[in-house]
Amino acid sequence: MPSQSALSPAGPQAGRIISLWWMMFYVTGAVFLIVMAFLMAALVRRRRPYGGAAADVPDVRPEPSGERRMSHVVLTGVALTVVILFVFLVRSYVTGRALDSLHEQDHLTVKVVGHQWWWEVSYDNATAAYTVTTANEIHIPVGRPVLFKLSSTDVIHSFWVPNLHGKTDLVPGHENVTWLKADREGVYRGQCAEFCGHQHAHMAFTVVVEPYEKFKAWYDAQLAAAQEPSTESQKQGRQVFLSSPCVMCHTVRGTDAGSRVGPDLTHVASRGTLAAGTLENTRGHLAGWVVDSQQIKPGNRMPPNNLEPADLQALLDYLQSLK
């Protein structure tokens, strides 16, 4: 399972954030302990036996010298608080600046569009023919800052890969940008962090961080149109795909299927997960998803499909050939 945790950073941004957090954790932890120590001391200092008479005569006019001493301590405490908070403020500002300092002239730009409840991913390129469109899986080269342009077509979502960086919202009518940079190769899981309806819980994606060559190879593979079916069964599967409701929502480049309502399936078999990070991409899961997705992800937009067993098998053969 890919990692999804802010505690094990894989990039400079998440690293900076977590080190800021640890600093704050230690300082506030110490403050907490000191405050609790004072509290305990105050409680045991002049403790009366448990259950003592409540009508005890109150100490109406506390001794002025003691009061003065206490007010000095309190003032010191407040002054220390102010100092600590100021340090936090400066440190936070500096970290914030550093987070936004990732810029590179010749960077990769990834457009992410949030949908209920999946992620449309496209790699920007000045030449339309070099634009790659995929879904729920983002590949980026290691050690290179990548610009993400985030937008939404329906409700507000939030783009979050805890191992790499904090979150940025996808707001309809706005385009937000964020930079990510990963220093460690690996697969990191991200998830929608803004409540977006029924399947907010199952709106995940993976970020695959790989060496540039591997990334380039992947990119080139994604650029290609869908693989032609090679077996009879795959051919039949394509026929099923094109003559069933599938074609109304999904794109398979190189065929007549060109709708952009649902995820692009041109290279669906190359992806690690199905249904926005919900299922591992296996034949069984795929079958279950095609036939009755509402059982797996109730409320999602994929309708149930009543396919003949033979047609279903053929369709699965075809989809699994779309590497």
Partner: protein, 690 residues
């Protein structure tokens, strides 16, 4: 509880009888000494009793069901308010238990996503709008006039109205929920998810209209509180002698005043978008979903302080009583409250750091967010100093306050962390935040509130809660709370987002979630223990007496439970901790008529007597007005025409409400001897007739 009432009556009769025997004994004793003087004493007592009956008749609720409905007494309304809010607390708590059951295991099928979304929305909405704010107002409605030495809250009919409106709004929301029309877009109802396109049906409309109900109610109560605070204080209670609790509810009321209109307006815009197709939040037509977030959080963040500030008031009150000394740093505490009230309005953007606002602007809000830790720190330090310089008594209210320290300080610390934009970007909308605000709200408000329940229970009911059960309640709640919410910090850092109805098994969040759910069971048990304790003590608790804790504030100067008129003779004040320092012959206010609801109004700063005025009688009109308002509000969910048409009955009921009454005939003055009893120091009010 008919038994209890009869018991009370019997007790009262018995004590009266005892008093009479005493008097007779005294009389017999004094007969030989000075027959004339004893007769005077007896005459005084008889006059007092006469006065009591007259006041009870004047200020009491009318008989029967009608009188029950028409009550405008702040204690009756306050009690109803508290019970209702507590009822909503239980309901929302049940929803929390359902959510914890669902989340205890990964990919659980206990609740479907739609129901889960409704449940978490209802939990948040009920806790924030129907429990936390109303209960703080409710306690203020009950306690504030007593603490200030007044006979009723200012604008008593408005007070009854605000309760009914609140009740009807809450019931409407819950009926909708039971009918499967419960809101499902979160308690924050972000557009566009809650907007006309993605929020099908009437679910969000009920949410938005519930806002209108509770806001109307909250604004009414805020008006009453502010007026009561400034104009109804006991003579001599200048601003520097007002108990800290009263200051805290004053700050709360002002915050309500400035925060609530924002959300009322925003929810009206949302309803218009949904009902008549306006475009406030439609980006394609120049609207903006971010606008909603600004409006919502401009209310939503002060809301947190609206809940927390009265909590600090409870803490100050309880701490002072059980440390057996005046609160340390009175001026600093009051200034901290006021500055919290101001700063609280300057940090709403920290809920929106991830929406892509300019970084420099965000830094300003980091500063403001972090700054609010300063007044909070001042308060904490002053409280610890109070304990340090006092001799703490560990009664159950005190235990809740000590628990508050532990929990709230943790919550404050995580709050400071989230003030930093970079950290917030990571933990925002994760379980870390869920942990944080439960630490702040349960720690900062619910624990003090339970402390306040334990503290004022004897005043409200006349009976003491069981100390043993009280301590047990505290420990079970304390352990349960920390078990439930501490693991959520870790879950959040390990990547678990909020508001998910389930999570996948291989993410490794299962164990901590299970632990949290187990803690939830314990927390529930703690609340149940409190209910058991309260019910048992209502029937069989020890009699409390006027001032069981030996506290210093005025609400303890009258009987428990207080009579309808609060004080036989309203007290005067010459120091901050009145009951601890006042001389035996502290003057009282006399000369107020007992045949009409006459009250003394004092000046805002020094509380010098200003004028006498007459409060309105109990009335059914506030209830009718609330019903008419309810009809209009519910109607507007379905058609805009309900607004103009629904105005008519509202207008009619308001006319009835404000219809001038016939002039009353003055009754006899109380016997002159009663006045003389109080010697030279009584306040000559009759010379200051308005």
């Amino acid at each position: 509880m008919p038994g209890r009432k009869e018991d009370d009556r019997a007790e009262r009769a018995a004590s009266l009888e005892a008093a009479r025997t005493d008097i007779e004994a005294l009389r017999a004793y004094a007969a030989g000494v000075d027959a004339a003087r004893t007769d005077d004493l007896l005459a005084d007592d008889i006059a007092d009793e006469h006065e009591r009956r007259a006041l009870a008749k004047t200020w009491g609720d009318g008989p029967g069901f009608w009188g029950w409905l028409a009550s405008t007494n702040h204690k009756t309304v306050g009690r109803r308010f508290i019970y209702t809010a507590f009822g909503f607390f239980i309901l929302a708590g049940i929803l929390a238990v359902l959510m914890r059951v669902q989340l205890a295991r990964p990919e659980s099928r206990f609740l479907n996503p739609d129901l889960y979304n409704q449940i978490f929305t209802m939990h948040g909405t009920t806790m924030m709008f129907l429990f936390a704010v109303p209960v703080m107002e409710a306690v203020a409605v009950y306690v504030l006039p007593l603490m200030l030495g007044a006979r009723n809250i200012a604008f008593p009919r408005l007070n009854a109205f605000s309760y009914w409106v609140y009740l009807f709004g809450g019931v409407m929301l819950w009926v909708a929920f039971v009918l499967n029309v419960g809101p499902d877009a979160g308690w924050f109802s972000y557009v566009p998810l809650s907007g006309p396109e993605y929020g099908a049906g009437k679910r969000v409309d009920f949410w938005a209209q519930m806002i209108t109900f509770t806001e109307v109610s909250a604004l009414c109560v805020a008006t009453e509180i502010i007026t009561t605070f400034f104009k109804m204080r006991a003579p001599g209670m200048s601003l520097n002698r007002v108990p800290v609790y009263c200051w805290s509810v004053l700050v709360m009321a002002f915050m309500v005043f400035f925060a609530m209109p924002t959300i009322a307006w925003a929810s009206a815009c949302l309803m218009m978008d949904r009902l008549i197709g306006t475009h406030f939040f439609n980006p394609a037509e120049g609207g903006d979903p971010i606008l909603w977030q600004h409006l919502f959080w401009f209310f939503g963040h002060p809301e947190v302080y609206i809940i927390f500030i009265p909590g600090t008031g409870f803490v100050s009150t309880i701490l002072s009583t059980f440390s057996r000394r005046p609160i340390f740093g009175y001026t600093a505490l009051v200034l901290a409250l006021v500055s919290t009230g101001f700063i609280g309005f300057g940090l709403w953007v920290h809920h929106m750091f991830a929406t892509g606002l300019p970084r420099m602007g965000e830094s300003f809000f980091t500063g403001a967010t972090i700054m609010i830790a300063i007044p909070a720190g001042v308060q904490i330090f002053c409280w610890i100093a109070t304990l340090w310089g006092g001799r703490p008594v560990f009664k159950s209210p005190m235990m809740f306050v000590l628990g508050f320290f532990f929990i709230f300080v943790i919550g404050g610390m995580t709050g400071v962390m989230q003030g930093a934009v970079p950290v917030d970007l990571q933990v925002h909308d994760t379980y870390f935040v869920v942990a944080h605000f439960h630490y702040v709200l349960i720690g900062g408000a619910v624990f003090p509130l339970f402390g306040a329940f334990h503290y004022w229970f004897p005043k409200v009911t006349g009976r003491l809660l069981s100390e043993k059960l009280g301590h047990a309640t505290f420990w079970v709640m304390f352990v349960g709370f920390n078990l439930t919410f501490f693991p959520m910090h870790i879950l959040g850092l390990r990547g678990m987002p909020r508001r998910v109805y389930t999570y996948q098994p291989n993410l490794g969040w299962g164990d901590l979630n299970m632990l949290a759910s187990a803690g939830g069971v314990l927390l529930t048990l703690g609340v149940l223990l409190f209910i058991v304790n309260a019910l048992r003590s209502l029937r069989a608790g020890a009699l409390a007496g006027d001032n069981p804790w030996g506290a210093a504030t005025l609400e303890w100067a009258t009987s428990s439970p207080p009579p309808a008129y609060n004080f036989l003779r309203p007290p005067t004040v010459d120091s901050r901790d009145t009951l601890w320092t006042q001389p035996a012959d502290q003057p009282v206010v006399i000369g107020l008529r007992s045949d009409v609801r006459e009250v003394l109004v004092t000046r805002a700063l020094d509380a010098e007597p200003d004028l006498k005025t007459e409060f309105p009688d109990s009335s059914i009109w506030p209830l009718l007005a609330a019903l008419a308002t309810t009809a209009m509000f519910i109607g507007t969910i379905f058609t805009p025409w309900a607004l103009p048409v629904g105005m008519l009955p509202v207008f009619v009921t308001l006319t009835g409400w404000f219809w001038p009454k016939k002039k009353r005939l003055a009754e006899e003055r109380p016997p002159e001897e009663v006045k003389e009893k109080h010697g030279e120091r009584w306040l000559k009010l009759q010379e200051q007739e308005s």
